[in-house]
């Protein structure tokens, strides 16, 4: 009986391992610097170096409740080492963290950083976090939120 149990555990382990998806680890996705992107008349941005382009209107609708609020704005975009995309813009109260799905950015987290809105935000790539600086204030951000509070 004991042999039977061991055999069943072995088989189950083999089956489970064969069903799990292939993973290539470790992987590093970070961009060295942020991209500061002008939003075109249709709400689109295009990042030339990494060939990323997408529609920002839903983001502005979420942040400002006005889908046309993108006019004349620039979007700050950076990708951290885990592969999450961080987005924000001047006037935003939040930093948006996205993952990627087929043909879409999917919101992973919305990090509240400034109740009155950011003045002149900029992302910097740091080893273990994304640094957000604005008006002399610095935030250490991860995909889960502010890592070390406001400095």
């Amino acid at each position: 009986m004991a042999y039977l149990k061991i055999f069943l555990i072995f088989i189950t382990t083999i089956v489970l391992l064969s069903c799990s998806s292939l993973k290539l680890t470790p992987a590093e996705f970070s961009w060295p610097i942020e991209a500061v992107l002008n939003i075109d008349n249709n709400g689109f941005v295009k990042e030339e170096r990494n060939l990323v382009s997408f529609d920002t209107r839903a983001l502005f609708l979420e942040e400002t409740e006005d889908s046309s609020g993108y006019a004349g704005k620039t979007l700050h975009l950076i990708r951290n080492n885990e592969g999450f995309y961080f987005m924000t813009a001047a006037g935003f109260k939040n930093v948006y963290v996205f993952t990627v799905e087929r043909n879409a950015f999917v919101l992973e987290n919305k990090i509240s950083v400034n109740e009155t809105g950011l003045l002149n935000p900029a992302f910097n790539q740091r080893k273990l976090f994304i640094e957000l600086i604005d008006d002399g204030k610095t935030f250490k951000l991860t995909s889960e939120g502010i890592e070390e509070g406001m400095q």
């Binding site: 060295p32 610097i33 942020e34 991209a35 170096r49 640094e131 002399g136 204030k137 610095t138 400095q151």
Partner: protein
């Protein structure tokens, strides 16, 4: 102990403050680097001297020093370049541009030497032209003077061509700067061309050359071959001027006195070209004149035909009223001594090739010449009369013989 604690707290607060104050966007830092780098790259392209390049080289060193602490992030952000390769490229551009200036300095030295040579030739040409003018007035008096004159003309011709070639060389030194579209040249580029043209007295040299070339034609009488060469020289000069003349008009657009100078050059080209056309007719007239046939002046194909046919008509009309021997002598000199010896063989191809005379006009003169010949030396018809006489005698003899034969035949049957 307490003081040490206060010091530590103060140090902590200082560090906290400075960290916040000096927090800087990496993106802005990279942009700042790119902007300064681009300015240096542009500066290399627009540098006007080696001194400018030396200043840019210093600026490049400052840039490298200012951003060396950020090398790691710049290495990643300047893709496909990196911090080192960006400065390598900048230094290569600097060296390349430096070599341009070295070439320009050499060219400028050459042009200065050319200018000195042009000045010398200008003086030499003036002396030669003066000597030729004096000798030209003695031409028919002294055979030695004719030889001397011919030598001087050949000498002058050589120096004129040499001077023109020196001007071409000066123009060639400008050509690279004027190669593109002048309207896209910056004001600074235009000022550079202007300063180079002025420094080398280019416009003055071109005007002097054009005047001397016209003057050369005025004081000399050339053969058709020589004139063909002068015409080629004129065309070369015109083509050289066409390359830069219109562009210089743009460069000099804001300098009214210089615009007038350019117009003057255009006029001098017209004078020279007209002088070449006139020279052919004057030299032809000179050929007649040297043989004591004095024709009125003519400056075009039509005038030439009119003057020559009028001269021949007058000679035909006066044949018999003046001494026949003299008339025949004039015909002989005109026809054999000038027309068929010089005009028809030497000048006619030049006149026809350069459309100065039409074939019909040439035929009209030669027809008139044939008419003159028929008057001056009519054909001897004696042999014709003899043949006719013989033919009449033969016919009469034949009639007599035939009649005799018929009479004999009528008598025999009886």
């Amino acid at each position: 102990m307490k003081r040490s604690m206060i010091n530590n707290i103060l140090l902590f607060l200082f560090l906290l403050t400075t960290t916040s104050v000096f927090a800087q966007s990496d993106y802005e830092m990279v942009q700042s680097f790119k902007e300064r780098y681009q300015k240096l790259s542009d500066g290399i392209k627009t540098a006007a001297s080696l001194e400018d390049l030396d200043n840019i080289s210093l600026e490049a060193e400052n840039l490298r020093r200012d951003f060396s602490a950020k090398k790691a992030i710049l290495d990643q952000s300047l893709y496909p370049e990196n911090f080192i390769s960006a400065f390598d490229n900048l230094n290569s551009s600097l060296e390349l541009r430096r070599s341009d200036f070295t070439s320009i300095t050499v060219l400028q030295t050459e042009v200065t030497a050319l200018k000195t040579e042009v000045d010398l030739l200008n003086r030499r040409n003036t002396e030669l032209i003066n000597q030729i003018t004096i000798l030209e007035s003695q031409r028919r008096k002294d055979a030695a003077a004719i030889e001397q004159l011919e030598n001087l003309v050949a000498d002058l011709r050589t120096t004129l061509i040499k001077r023109d070639q020196l001007i071409y060389a000066i123009v060639d030194s400008l050509t690279p700067k004027l190669a593109g579209d002048v309207s896209s040249m910056t004001q600074q580029d235009k000022e550079q061309v202007y300063s180079q043209v002025e420094k080398n007295n280019l416009l003055v040299s071109v005007k002097k050359s054009l005047r001397d070339n016209s003057r050369f034609l005025e004081v000399t009488s050339l053969k058709a071959n020589d004139l063909g060469n002068v015409k080629q020289q004129n065309q070369n000069f015109v083509s050289m001027w066409n390359k830069i003349g219109p562009k210089l008009v743009d460069v000099y657009a804001n300098k009214k006195d210089k615009t007038e100078e350019l117009k003057e050059i255009d006029n001098l080209f017209s004078v020279w070209s007209n002088r070449i056309k006139k020279e052919a007719w004057e030299s032809i007239n000179e050929d007649f004149s040297l043989n004591n046939i004095n024709l009125q002046n003519f400056n075009s194909g039509k005038e030439f035909v009119d003057v020559v046919t009028k001269f021949i008509s007058d000679e035909i009309k006066n044949y018999g009223t003046k001494n026949k021997e003299e008339s025949e002598k004039i015909y002989s000199i005109f026809s054999d001594g000038v027309w068929f010896k010089t005009i028809s063989t030497e000048w006619m191809p030049y006149l026809l090739d350069n459309s100065l005379l039409a074939v019909e006009q040439k035929d009209a003169i030669e027809k008139k010449l044939a008419e003159w010949k028929s008057v001056v030396s009519p054909q001897n018809l004696t042999w014709l009369y003899a043949v006719i006489g013989l033919a009449v005698v033969f016919i009469i003899a034949l009639i007599i013989i035939l009649r005799k034969k018929k009479t004999t035949a009528d008598i025999q049957p009886e």
